[in-house]
């Protein structure tokens, strides 16, 4: 039993990289464009920093929730706060949301691959292989997933190194004067930026499985958030100084276009290498959602082991993402899901905390502690 418990925990640094890898995913390619497009123009990087600040506030909310429920994850907290039936219903909604995020990830993934490198490979195979690989990882315990996410974090460094070359052709006047689009635009774009940071919901799910005190967990979460925010701000900034403001409105995947324009002595199309690396990032974020979705399903069925549910969820995501769809509809649906995600990630924590405070709900000692994770002391 002791051994089993040990296998279900991760260290704070693993937590940080786990969440970073889930946050950085399919959206990273288009993020500078979508933030630009939302109104902030070349001040988009400020919006991203603002969004990071908002996420940080949510992390503190998580901290207060987690203080009341040190050994429960989000699902168990929902059940405890809202009672059994409403709780189950909310879990179901969460699971459906996470699954639909997974489907969107797969659809965007395969459509970008089709456009950039593999026009004639059937979507069936592209999605199928990704789902199979994700299944192979997601059915394992959280520790194995965290190990994998930690190793592939090296690839983030490669991404940054690849984009550094852009500074040789930088034109800093594109972003000047800083803040010229006005506070309102920047704040409005921050909404678009927060959507690209989605994935931090994992904190409240993984806090219970992390070793160490609440303080170290929150510290790890903060470090993760700061890292992701800075990486995103850096990538956006690099794009804004590389492309002129007119140009960037025309390139939906600015980072790929940016990298494509550089070639090295032994390498002509750097973007293909980048795309190969990016596939790993997509997979890790897909696995992150797959894992939390299957965890939620397991709790819905009162089970503790998530592995048997991964298979079914993989099948659902696969079927939905290969089903025939309209490109324009995808854009709409993905925006809808992002907005729902915003509600889930930004409003829900406050609701949970408020209800928990109002009704003085706290973790009951006997029931849930045995099921999940390790104590926080």
């Amino acid at each position: 039993m002791n051994n089993q418990n040990q296998k279900n925990t991760i260290t704070p640094s693993q937590l940080a990289l786990f969440v970073i890898q889930t946050q950085v995913g399919v959206g990273v390619l288009s993020m500078p464009f979508s933030v630009f497009d939302a109104g902030a123009k070349t001040d988009g990087w400020i919006s991203i920093l603002l969004a990071g600040l908002v996420v940080q506030i949510i992390i503190f909310v998580y901290m207060f929730i987690s203080k009341r429920y040190p050994t429960s994850n989000l699902y168990l907290i929902l059940e405890s706060v809202f009672g059994k039936w409403l709780g189950k219903f909310l879990i179901l909604i969460h699971v459906v949301y996470f699954i639909s995020v997974g489907v969107i990830i797969l659809i965007l993934f395969s459509s970008i691959l089709t456009v950039w490198a593999f026009p004639s490979t059937p979507q069936f195979f592209k999605v199928g292989i990704a789902v199979f690989t994700a299944w192979y990882l997601a059915k394992e315990n959280v520790r194995v997933i965290a190990r994998f996410h930690v190793i592939v974090s090296v690839l983030l460094v490669i991404v940054i190194l690849l984009t550094v070359t852009a500074f040789t052709h930088a034109e800093f006047r594109y972003v000047l004067p800083i803040g010229h689009t006005g506070i309102t635009n920047i704040i409005l774009s921050a909404k678009a930026a927060t959507l690209s940071l989605l994935g931090f919901e994992l904190f409240i799910i993984l806090f219970a499985k992390t070793e160490g005190t609440l303080k170290t967990k929150v510290k790890a979460a903060t470090i993760a958030n700061v890292t992701v925010t800075l990486i995103y701000a850096y990538l956006a900034f690099t794009c804004y100084i590389f492309f002129s403001p007119e140009e960037i409105g025309l390139v939906p995947e600015p980072i790929l276009y940016l990298i494509k324009s550089f070639s090295f002595i032994v390498l002509e199309r750097t973007d293909l290498i980048f795309l190969t690396v990016w596939m790993v990032s997509v997979l890790t974020s897909f696995v992150g959602y797959l894992y939390i979705a299957s965890l939620g399903t397991a709790i819905l069925f009162n089970k503790t082991n998530h592995s048997p549910f991964v298979w079914g969820i993989c099948l659902i995501t696969f079927l939905f993402s290969v089903s025939p769809h309209n490109v324009l509809r995808i854009g709409e649906i993905s925006e809808l899901i992002s907005n729902i995600g915003g509600v889930f990630s930004f409003i829900f924590p406050f609701v949970i905390l408020a209800v928990a405070l109002l009704f003085k709900r706290k973790e009951s000692n006997e029931s849930k502690t045995g099921k999940k994770g390790v104590s926080s002391t």
Partner: protein, 509 residues
């Protein structure tokens, strides 16, 4: 040992057709009547043609000596009996003084002893049967193993005799903490197996787990360490070896001192070291005998060789088949002109050449060295040259395949070497079907597998997954020895400290 007695007893029941319950017959004792003991031994070894019997008298007591002529050194028998019974002492004191006579009254031990080459001395009126250590041993030199040569350092190697091997290790670790446990595996062959570990270093849970797994082996023979390996390892279906096979005493010593467990088997010079991590296969004792820059550089080269061996053909196939645009302008023409005339896709070329190389290797490896060389030259040079001239395979492909073959042989361990050579095929097929996409996902599958794999509860891919910053000092790098104060944490040793500050003299100057 519990298992052993159970096996013995099955045999005993067969020979004596005894209806006794197991518990009773397991403690079967010898009789104090000479005749009964003689009957027992002769019945048990009814069909053993090499059982020899000598009758004689000691102080008017009838005595019989039994031994298996095939296992016994006659000179030893003579010397032992001579020195014991030559003197003028009384019978009892003679027996007391003969320290090499091991008395026993257990029938199982008697049979076991006889099978190990001991002689049995039966004396009328005495219940005890004396075992004389008269086994003859034929052994070869402890010469350096052919497959694990080092430039500098110890040139000793294990041999087929378990006693000698344990001796080699004992001499290297003169510590009271060195634990050596013997087991018998094989219900019929009764092969001795011995596990060694440091009591104050190795993790007790680990030792317990290994002992448990060894004890649960149930088979009538133990042919080679490979059998034991497959019985005790965690995932038999993984392409990666999960125990380290070595014939080097110095390597075994280093492993035991790191908290690992060594398993040695009678009749095989190969020692199994477990648990093991992936990167241990890429280390060689030579690393520690050279300057630390040199050691580090060659470690890096070996890790690079792993990547080249599994990825290079796949990348080439993907580039030629899918992503020709990745090749820089100046290189396009040479590659294009070489590939253009080839009538089939790069995957077919690659498979032809890779299989040829495997054929040459498999043909040459067991042949005597002069013929082996000829095969190498005919296979490698002649076929390689002719196949390009004939236009069946492109020049670049020959370069890629040759580089891959060389890279695969860089690994110091044979087991890992074969694993790596097999692993490149899935990558090649994935690259041929899906280009970089295929390589990326096959690579991820491999990485996930490595993250999952555990050998006796020890993460196989440590110190990379889970990431252990401190252990990198002796994995990718080979830092100066005096910087490695702590033992590698991967094997969860009880004693963590390896050394103090050994260069204290620097402060004094």
């Amino acid at each position: 040992m519990k298992r052993l007695t159970r096996l013995k007893l099955e045999k005993g029941q067969q020979s004596e057709a005894n209806a006794n319950s197991p518990q009773q017959s397991s403690s079967k004792k010898t009789s104090n009547l000479l005749i009964k003991n003689q009957d027992f031994i002769e019945n048990t070894f009814k069909d053993a043609g090499d059982l020899q019997k000598r009758n004689f008298k000691i102080e008017d007591k009838k005595a019989t000596l039994y031994y298996l002529s095939s296992l016994t050194d006659f000179k030893k028998v003579e010397r032992m009996l001579g020195s014991a019974f030559d003197s003028q002492r009384s019978f009892n004191s003679m027996i007391e003084h003969a320290a090499t006579f091991v008395p026993t009254n257990s029938q199982n031990k008697v049979i076991e002893g006889l099978l190990e080459g001991r002689s049995l001395l039966l004396i009328d009126g005495v219940e005890m049967i004396y075992l004389l250590d008269t086994g003859s041993i034929i052994k070869r030199d402890t010469s350096e193993p052919m497959n694990e040569k080092v430039v500098r350092g110890s040139h000793e190697g294990f041999v087929e005799d378990l006693g000698t091997n344990v001796h080699l290790l004992r001499r290297r670790i003169s510590s009271r903490q060195l634990a050596i446990h013997y087991y018998k595996i094989g219900t019929d062959t009764n092969t001795s197996v011995c596990i060694l570990y440091m009591k104050n270093i190795a993790n007790p849970q680990l030792v317990q787990e290994i002992t448990k797994r060894i004890e649960s082996i149930e088979m009538d023979m133990t042919f080679s360490p490979g059998f034991i390996e497959e019985f005790i390892e965690d995932s038999t279906f993984s392409p990666f070896p999960q125990v380290l096979n070595t014939e080097r005493p110095d390597r075994t010593m280093a492993a035991v001192m790191d908290g690992q467990v060594a398993i040695m088997i009678e009749g095989s010079p190969t020692c199994i070291i477990t648990p093991i991590t992936f990167f241990a296969f890429y280390q060689s004792p030579d690393d520690y005998n050279s300057r630390f820059y040199v050691g580090t550089f060659y470690r890096m080269i070996r890790i690079l060789s792993f990547l080249i061996a599994i990825l290079l053909p796949a990348i080439y196939i993907a580039v030629v088949g899918f992503h020709f645009e990745i090749i820089p302008n100046d290189l396009v023409l040479p590659v294009k002109s070489s590939v253009q005339q080839i009538p089939y896709p790069p995957i077919v070329e690659a498979i032809i050449m890779e299989l040829t190389i495997e054929l040459i290797r498999e043909a040459g490896v067991r042949l005597p060295s002069p013929i082996g060389q000829t095969i190498g030259i005919v296979g490698g040079l002649v076929i390689g040259d002719a196949i390009v001239t004939a236009g069946l395979v492109s020049n670049v492909m020959i370069i890629v395949v040759a580089l891959t073959a060389i890279a695969a042989f860089v690994v110091p361990s044979t087991e890992m070497n074969t694993s790596v050579r097999i692993l490149r095929f899935p990558f090649m097929f994935a690259a041929a079907t899906f280009g970089f996409f295929g390589i990326s996902f096959t690579g991820m599958l491999l990485l996930i597998h490595l993250c999952k794999l555990e050998s006796f509860g020890i993460p196989y891919f440590s110190p990379v997954a889970p990431f252990q910053w401190k252990d990198l000092k002796d994995t990718f790098l080979r830092m100066p020895v005096w910087l490695m104060n702590l033992k590698p944490t991967a094997y969860k040793p009880v004693k963590k400290k390896q050394q103090g500050y050994s260069r204290r003299w620097i402060k004094n100057e």
